[in-house]
Amino acid sequence: MKDESEYNVLLLDDDPEVIAAISSLLALETKHNVLAFTSASEAFEAIETQEIDLAIVDFLMPGAMDGIEFLIALKKRQPYSIRMILTGYADKVNAIKAINEVGLYKYLEKPWDNEELLQIIREGLERRALLRRLTDQLGGSIPL
């Protein structure tokens, strides 16, 4: 299993306060490397060059690409990444779309609970590590 500091956690939310709150929480309670973005297009550039272990994304965002489109792109490029949505707008249609098309790990609503969020991140990264080990043992890809 990777050391905590080796995990790349991507945050994408157009609200800088949300980015600041979760980045500070992760800085205080974990050693993860946090990559934070307020636009999906910037985050999209990052996934072309960096491996993302876990992504926490809001789905309603201004600009050409929304959160779900970003997560679809992430799934295509990095299928073993753990993908989560954190949103203030509970919308059943988008939630179903996210679960079906994004292969979502968790769908969380704002306001979130810090302890619960940390627990979910921990479990998500354990799952990520397990997937990686299985892939290495099988010497190739495993179906998701």
């Binding site: 609200d15 709150a21 979760i22 203030g88 306001p111």
Partner: protein, 300 residues
């Protein structure tokens, strides 16, 4: 004779319109039968009530959309504040641990002012957390009562909906009304949650408005055969017997204009009876109080 039959087939409004059309270019007085005037007046009142109901429904939909929009706008900033308040508390705990640690110089540990500052910050932060919790709870209650995707039949816990309604009317009840919960052991019930929520809000607001000064509202729930009963009892002024029968009629109200236009209970009745196939009953005694009992089938 043929004309009479044709006239009879028309509604009073249509008859009046025809009469007016016939005489519109004449300057003579039109003798309109008294009975027709009464029929037209009665029909006009029905139309007026229907129009007010429609306006009220439209207003409720607009209000629901507005509330959902506001809740969404508040939920993101309050989510950050709520997280930061918690983070602040975690950070203070770390500082307290460091200050209590053996490894730091004695003189720093004994700086009473430093300890006092940390304790004061902790106390302030706890107060912020309480305030935040209240906003978060309010936003969640507004969201659950206003969200569009809940306009479908779902298995819900009636007690959760009652608590949501109580949060929404908190401002109406606080410091004046003592709420007593007599929640029984009841199963989940299939309902339209946001519709039922508006009935509960209505019941609580009515009960609160019936109480002058301080008083009490008790909410009792219990299972009765295949149904769940929800009783709202207030210690208010009560309803005179002559008004009990008119209570659920659209447009009937004894409240001042700024407190209602008399559609609340008519809408509640429609939601409970037509949409949930339940019952809504009232018992009241002047100067003692009123009990509204809502009966809902557990399965729709």
């Amino acid at each position: 004779m043929a004309q009479d039959t044709e006239a009879n087939a028309m509604t009073p409004l249509e008859q009046l319109a025809q009469l007016m059309g016939e005489y519109k270019d004449r300057t003579i007085d039109v003798p309109v039968p008294q009975k027709l005037i009464e029929q037209v007046s009665a029909e006009f009142r029905v139309l007026q009530t229907a129009q007010r109901q429609l306006m009220q429904s439209k207003n409720m939909i607009m209000l629901g959309q507005l509330m959902a929009g506001i809740a969404h706008e508040i939920s993101t900033p309050i989510a950050s504040i709520n997280s930061n308040v918690n983070l602040f508390s975690r950070s203070l705990d770390r500082i307290k641990t460091i200050l209590g640690s053996e490894s730091i110089p004695e003189e720093l540990r004994e700086k009473r002012q430093m300890v006092q500052i940390v304790n004061a910050l902790d106390k302030l932060n706890q107060s912020n957390q309480t305030a935040c919790d209240r906003i978060v709870q309010m936003v969640q209650s507004i969201r659950s009562s206003a969200r569009g995707d809940m306009a479908e039949l779902r298995e819900i816990d009636i007690h959760d909906e009652l608590e949501n309604a109580l949060t929404l009317v908190h401002h109406e009840l606080k410091r004046r009304i003592n709420v007593i919960r007599k929640y029984g052991d009841i199963p989940k019930c299939s309902c339209f949650p946001n519709r039922l929520n508006s009935v509960f809000v209505n019941m609580l607001v009515n009960a609160s408005q019936a109480i002058e000064g301080k008083g009490q509202i008790s909410i009792e729930t219990f299972k009765d055969g295949d149904t769940i009963k929800v009783k709202f009892t207030d210690t208010g002024q009560g309803i005179p017997p002559e008004n009990i029968e008119k209570l659920f009629e659209p447009g009937f109200t004894t409240k001042p204009p700024d407190q209602g236009i008399g559609l609340g209970l008519a809408i509640c009745k429609r939601i409970v009876m037509d949409e949930h196939h339940g019952k809504i009953e009232v018992e009241s005694e002047v100067d003692k109080g009123t009990t509204f009992t809502i009966t809902l089938p557990i399965k729709q």
